[in-house]
């Protein structure tokens, strides 16, 4: 037969019982040829290009899902950062484009469209400012449009003015979507060192160094990794890392297979497999549970950062061999609301915002899906973002913040966002102010790349 019964049953078990799936097939589309002086013409060009490039995307993904019997949870499109399309759009022009992206996403039948974005790590163009000014409206008036802002990079430093504007946009987006617990903020990511080929939302955009169109794949499989660890109680950490690598190799191979088949079918180049372990709110499909399976009583206790560092590295090593091209964020995700184990750890008092921040120093991707009290000052949100950006800039890695100041809610309460976004306990923030620091604004200079202590 060529395969042993054990191998066959292992695969069946992964899919049927351990939530193994492909998290996303994301089609990246360049819109660099769509810009026109007139936003209406630009919007029209964008709509036509997305529809013509992506018309076969959803049917092809559904076909592959049926053919290979592996669930593919989301189908998405990422586009060129919109602020790059024209330097002279008014805010209304950008709002029109956001609506157009939403309409195109609906027409294609995809789950999300990302790229309502600006790259401002070293300063603003006029169009960046215009895009920033309509972010809250764009996010709260559309359903599927995701936005991202790259406000820092290792080569440029940290744009504190951009962080202040981003924090203000987050507060306003929360207020505008107050009836839905501030859900508009779940569609906005603030980045340091944003990758150009990331298939995961809300931070996906199609970088300017990318081809006309590419297929990128995001895998999932925390449940599978947890089950592997549970098979080896007491095994030393070096040997355990080896077992994790083997498992991740297997799940990444399926991502590679699906990516190759989708790209062949669509006649588009295959971009990358993103090796991130993406959790879902489903019981057992949790990164926190993986860390607990390693022997931590609760995620967030002492040892959590070390366990996560080992997991993240093993995932990359196993995955890198399984795929020809690896990219995107590639690291374990630790979103709070999307991970039942994380929620439990927060509610048990084991996991705090400060511990999460430490964890982001060793894994992808940052403070993700964090709900904080609605009355959190805008300067405190800016401070939280600045801290996270500093971790990314100094450690030469991607970090991000996706934070929701939930209007009218306080610490200890819980809000539900639905679907993959899950539900979030409101977490406490430090109540001492950051005002004078963040209000200084300006650019924190790029770090020196030697003397690395």
């Amino acid at each position: 037969m060529g395969f042993s019964p054990e191998e066959i049953l292992e695969t069946i078990n992964m899919i049927n019982h351990l939530h193994f799936d492909i998290r996303t097939v994301t089609l990246g589309i360049s819109l660099l040829d769509c810009g026109d002086a007139d936003p209406k013409v630009t919007a029209d060009n964008i709509y036509k290009k997305i529809l013509s490039t992506g018309k076969k995307l959803v049917p092809t993904v559904k076909k592959m899902e049926r053919l290979y019997g592996v669930p593919i949870i989301n189908t998405r499109v990422a586009v060129t950062p919109i602020s790059l399309l024209n330097r002279r759009f008014s805010p209304e022009g950008f709002l029109l484009i956001a609506e157009t992206l939403d309409k195109a996403a609906d027409e294609l039948g995809i789950d999300f469209i990302g790229g309502f974005s600006a790259l401002v790590q070293k300063g603003f163009t006029n169009s960046d400012r215009a895009l920033f000014s309509v972010l809250p409206e764009a996010l709260s008036s559309t359903n599927k449009v995701c936005a991202s802002l790259n406000v820092a990079s290792t080569k440029a430093g940290i744009n504190m003015d951009a962080i202040n504007l981003a924090a203000a946009a987050i507060k306003k987006a929360a207020a505008l979507s107050a009836r839905a617990a501030g859900i508009a903020c779940a569609k906005l990511v603030v980045f340091a060192n944003a990758p150009e080929d990331n298939p995961f939302m809300a931070g996906a955009f199609h970088g300017i160094g990318e081809a006309e169109a590419t297929i990128n794949i995001g895998i999932s499989g925390p449940g599978v990794v947890r089950a592997t660890i549970q098979r080896f109680p007491g095994l030393d950490l070096g040997a355990l890392a080896e077992e994790i690598k083997k498992t991740v190799f297997k799940i990444t191979r399926v991502g590679e297979l699906i990516g190759r088949k989708v790209s062949t079918e669509l006649e588009l180049p295959f971009g990358i497999v993103d090796l991130s372990l993406a959790p879902t709110p489903a019981p057992g499909d949790s990164v926190a549970n993986i860390l607990e399976a390693m022997g931590l009583e609760k995620c967030g206790t002492h040892g959590t950062t070390a366990a996560l560092a080992m997991l993240n590295d093993a995932v990359k090593k196993g995955g890198a061999m399984a795929s020809s091209y690896v990219g995107g964020l590639s690291g374990a995700f630790i979103p709070v609301s999307e991970d039942a184990g994380m929620i439990e750890a927060v509610e048990a008092g084991a996991l705090s915002l400060t511990k999460l921040e430490a964890m982001t120093a060793v894994c992808s991707v940052g403070l993700d899906m964090i709900a904080v009290p609605g009355d959190t000052p805008v300067e405190t949100i800016a401070g939280i973002i600045a801290d996270e950006m500093a971790i990314g800039v100094i450690n030469n890695k991607t970090t991000a913040v996706r934070i929701i100041p939930v209007p009218g809610r306080g610490v200890g309460e819980k809000v539900s966002f639905g679907g993959l976004l899950g539900e979030a306990p409101i977490m406490a923030v430090n109540t001492y102010g950051s005002q004078e620091f963040v209000r200084r604004g300006g650019q924190i200079p790029a770090p020196i790349r030697a003397l690395t202590n």
Binding site: M1, F3, E7, I8, L9, T11, I12, R66, V70
Partner: protein, 89 residues
Amino acid sequence: MERAVITVMGYDQVGIVAEVTKILAASNCNIVDITQTLMQGIFAMIILINLPVETDLTVLREKLLAAGERMGIQITIQHEDIYRYMHRI
């Protein structure tokens, strides 16, 4: 020719092999290899089949799943590529 792997698991009863192979024959699928065992009364069978071009895997899957439901057993069918990618370098 493309191939697929079928697994059948459940409480042993009369006619499991007959029911599954009848569906395969009707779909023009040749059995390449078959292994079957009883583990503490649980019937477990793995079948490797050739998939003719005209046979739609998803249609075949629906037929097999329906048969599995009728007999109260679990049947899965997966394209061979999944196993090749996962378990072979």
